[in-house]
């Protein structure tokens, strides 16, 4: 076999800079044909930038792209698709109100000369493709009715339908529970056996080690190593990725307190539409002082509603919310926050930050009534700025000063700012929703440390997370939510990701 045909994709010397950031440089990547090639790296290491380069979403500043021995310049994804490259994005791009078949052919519809759709042709081709990946579902089902794992399968079929022989999967397992991950891997292994090449982006080391043939590690914008699962273990691969020791979320020395800081009892919350089933049903739990209660669950199973109900942002149908011994079920959000409740929101862009405002206004948000920062109805700008500088220093927010608008910060630093703001109002109860989502390992460790310190000082924490490692490592107790109910109470010392996964998918439920 010549070299040209041995490699499906060869990237040499790829560099790509954005204003102020060198996202990629000296990238060297060789992907053998019909293999699963994992690309691992921390968030922000430059994996996505590299894949966008390969998929033609932007052009590299330097370097060459060779596909199947032929050098290419991709001006747009259309060029990349023509060269047989397909990409499945982390966020699905499907039309809910169309069927599986319609979604797959959308944009590439087989039609007769007069423009009449030839659905039967498409259907046969789709069935053939489904056989090739070992997927089985009715192609006439509406996508809205499919689960997350099945939707992902549709995305993959869509790409294959367009003739892709090289498949890029961008963090495909981020949204899946462990059982769905296994199914996905079975599918892609079948594809690879038939000659397809899969490039698999991830930062979950266990998966990478389990499924890939070769692994390329990206750190701080460049490729630092290419290895195989046989040559490395989880620890050494992690160290390659981070360049130093991995942070470890576990460990505590203090005792959980006896004071109940937050109590939710028999809580029901109505569904989105009138007559729809309840969004929350009979939710009951307590958070003590110095305790971290973790909530696990696939997103959209009621975690958001629990937070909203505790904050008083959504009406409660039945049940009570008690904060520090006071019944707050009907209290206004401001009152609840004033008693010492803090909230690190699910999505910092949607609920946490004023992106266009300077940092000192962002650290002030929600703390308008805090003494010292305002006097009467007026703001005290100097105090606000000084306070902001303190938050920035204490939480290690990387920024030139407090006058920069929030959008100029990287995601991790934005998150540190939000966490810093919420912690600096000295809360007694903290609702932390995905406190370290989408940020790098260093910032993650810093945030975990802050939460742990505050917990040791008596803070009660309700931790909602999709990162099972974070949940197991930080929590004193883990609740699993499924379909608007709490379906399991687990001990983090004995809980495994697989066990959590079984409860999260609803496969297992505790008898109520």
């Amino acid at each position: 076999m010549t070299e040209a045909s041995e490699y499906a994709v060869v990237l040499e010397g790829i560099g790509k800079s954005f204003p102020g950031v060198r996202a990629n440089y000296d990238i060297d990547l060789r992907v053998r044909r019909a293999t699963i090639h994992a690309i691992v790296g921390e968030n922000g290491a430059g994996k996505s930038t590299l894949m966008k380069t390969l998929y033609g979403m932007h052009q590299p500043d330097e370097g060459t792209i060779t596909v199947n021995g032929v050098q290419h310049t991709f001006r747009s994804p259309t060029d990349a698709i023509a060269a047989g490259i397909g990409m499945v994005h982390q966020h699905f791009m499907l039309a809910d109100n169309l069927s599986v078949l319609e979604n797959v052919i959308l944009g590439d519809e087989p039609a007769s000369g007069r423009g009449v759709l030839k659905l039967d042709v498409a259907r046969d081709r789709l069935h053939a493709l489904m056989d090739s990946i070992g997927a089985a579902f009715d192609v006439d089902t509406m996508v809205a009715e499919l689960g997350v794992g099945q939707r992902q399968r549709v995305e993959i079929l869509k790409v294959l339908y367009r003739g892709a022989k090289i498949l890029i999967l961008d963090e495909p397992t981020a949204v899946l529970v462990p059982q769905e991950v296994d199914e996905l891997f079975a599918n892609i292994k079948k594809l690879v056996a038939d000659g397809t090449t899969v490039i698999f982006i991830s930062h979950k080391l266990d998966e990478v080690l389990a499924v890939s043939d070769e692994i390329t590690v990206i750190r701080q914008g460049t490729t630092v190593a290419t290895t195989t699962p046989g040559q490395v273990d989880r620890r050494s691969l992690g160290n390659l990725m981070v360049g130093s020791e991995l942070p470890d979320p576990s460990g505590r020395d203090t005792q959980v307190g006896s004071e109940v800081l937050l109590e939710v009892a028999g809580l029901d919350v109505a569904g989105a539409a009138p007559g729809a089933k309840l969004a929350l049903e009979d939710i009951t739990f307590r958070v003590h002082s110095g305790e971290v209660v973790g909530i696990a669950g696939v997103e959209g199973n009621g975690q958001f509603e629990v937070c909203e109900a505790i904050l008083g942002l959504t009406p409660v149908v039945r049940g009570t919310v008690t904060i520090e011994g006071t019944d707050m079920t009907t209290a206004h959000t401001k009152e609840r926050l004033a008693t010492g409740l803090s909230y690190i929101p699910f999505d910092r862009h949607r609920e946490g930050l004023l992106l266009n405002s300077p940092l000192w206004e962002n650290t002030f948000l929600g703390r308008e009534d805090e003494p010292g920062l305002s006097s009467g109805p007026f703001l005290r700008r100097r105090r606000m700025e000084a306070d902001s500088r303190q938050v920035i220093a204490r939480f290690g927010v990387r920024t030139p000063n407090e006058q920069v608008p929030a959008f100029a910060l990287s995601g991790g630093n934005q998150q540190k700012l939000v966490v810093g703001r919420e912690m600096s109002s000295k809360p007694k109860v903290l609702i932390a929703a995905h406190p370290t989502r989408g940020i790098d390992v260093g910032a993650q460790a810093a945030i975990w440390d802050e939460i742990r310190h505050a917990r040791d000082a008596g803070l009660g924490v309700l931790l909602i997370s999709a990162d099972l490692e974070e949940l197991i490592g930080l929590s004193d107790r883990i609740l699993v939510m499924f379909d608007g109910r709490i379906t399991a109470h687990l001990d983090p010392d004995t809980a495994t990701p697989e066990l959590l996964g079984s409860y999260m998918t609803g496969e297992m439920q505790e008898a109520s």
């Binding site: 949607r350 929600g366 308008e368 030139p400 000063n401």
Partner: protein, 386 residues
């Protein structure tokens, strides 16, 4: 917390405090927004010059006549006189913008307030200062009530305020015309064909600052409005919450700010200010309601607000520019140049500023990001040396 940690924290806080601020600070952003407004004005001047040139008019002469008028005292007073309602109306529009509301209904709110004030003001007898205050209060309440309808519809029924305020403009126009014609016209106070309401007693007249050339006292009201607008929006907790809700409703909501309440309040304030827009004509000049009173000032305020970048200082300059253009436009006719070119110019300015703002903003955001990254690298390098 232990001692050394505290000390190092303090040191770090000081380092952050001592890094240069002007770089990515607000002054540079202000300079950038001002520049985009200025640029928009020049683009408009250039396009109008081309328009004049293709229609065989002498554009050099047109502009020298127009801007030559700046030396004339009469034109300058007239500029202030014409800018007065624009200041208020632009403030009314801008306060809506701060909450992400586009109040196109200033015109209608103003019209309702005009008739209400003319009728109520003429119906009561009060001492001079009180009577003026009473009239201003009636104007603000009437405007707030009419603007409040749009706020109510948005909060309770989710009706887009752009649609509802446009519709309410038409309703206000017809409703006021009908009420005026059927109930409030006063035949005894009619000059020629111009029908008016009963004249306001002289205690309700807004005193002039300067008699000749005329400069009405409403200018003071307008300047106070701009000042209060600035204090309220940028210096108070309420203003912060308003801007927070406008900037990111989700984030404001999570801190306990009720977005519906903010929408209602900002529509009420916006309407109250809109109610004041016509007062320089009603209380300072005509002293009775007539059909063309204050016409278009509500719409012109939108242009002035956009050119003034929704900031009181910007509104001051753009209001003066628009006031000057219309004050000086009469001069053009003497040179056989259609004065409508000024209206066209004002229109192009607004289009240009919207387009240029969009482009410049994106450029500015990239510039700030680049700058922040560069400063961070410097900081890291400095730390490494230390």
């Amino acid at each position: 917390m232990n001692q050394p940690l505290d000390e190092s924290l303090e040191k770090l806080t000081k380092t952050i405090a001592s890094t240069p601020k002007v770089g990515s600070g607000r002054f540079q952003r202000m300079a950038v927004t001002s520049a985009s407004s200025l640029f928009a004005v020049f683009v408009a001047l250039a396009i109008c010059a081309v328009l004049l040139w293709v229609t065989d008019k002498d554009w050099v002469k047109a502009y020298s006549t127009l801007f030559g008028a700046v030396t004339e005292e009469r034109v300058l007073y007239d500029t202030l006189q014409r800018a007065t309602p624009l200041f208020i109306s632009a403030a009314a529009v801008s306060i809506g913008f701060k909450m992400n509301l586009f109040n196109i209904g200033v015109e209608g709110q103003m019209r309702v307030a005009l008739l209400a004030t003319a009728v109520a003001g003429a119906a009561v007898r009060l001492p001079a200062v009180l009577h003026v205050a009473f009239c201003l209060a009636v104007a603000m309440i009437a405007g707030a009530l009419w603007g409040g309808i749009a706020g109510f519809l948005k909060v309770k029924r989710g009706v887009n305020e752009v649609i509802s305020t446009i519709m309410l403009n038409f309703i206000a126009l017809s409703l006021v015309a009908w009420a005026f014609d059927d109930f409030f016209r006063d035949e005894s106070n009619t000059e020629g064909v111009l029908v008016k309401t009963k004249e306001l007693p002289s205690t309700a007249w807004m005193p002039d600052l300067v008699d000749k050339p005329k400069l009405g006292g409403t200018l003071i009201v307008a300047l106070v409005v701009l000042l209060l607008f600035w204090v309220l929006v940028w210096k108070t907790k309420f203003g912060f919450r308003l801007r927070a809700s406008g900037g990111n409703a989700g984030a404001a909501r999570a801190t306990g700010v009720n977005p519906g309440r903010m929408i209602a309040i900002s529509m009420l304030i916006s309407g109250a200010l809109a109610g004041l827009v016509g007062m320089n004509r009603l209380m300072g000049d005509v002293h009775a309601y007539q059909n063309n009173l204050g016409e278009q000032q509500g719409f012109n305020g939108i242009s002035v607000a956009l050119l003034g970048q929704k900031h009181p200082v910007g509104i001051l300059f753009s209001g003066l520019l628009f006031g000057f253009l219309s004050a000086a436009s009469g001069k053009l006719q003497l040179e056989d140049i259609p004065k409508e070119i000024v209206t066209i110019m004002q229109g192009i300015i607004v289009l240009a500023v919207v387009i240029i703002n969009g482009v410049i903003q994106r450029w500015d955001e990239r510039r700030i990001q680049r700058k922040a990254a560069a400063q961070l690298e410097q900081l890291a390098a400095a730390e490494a040396v230390a």
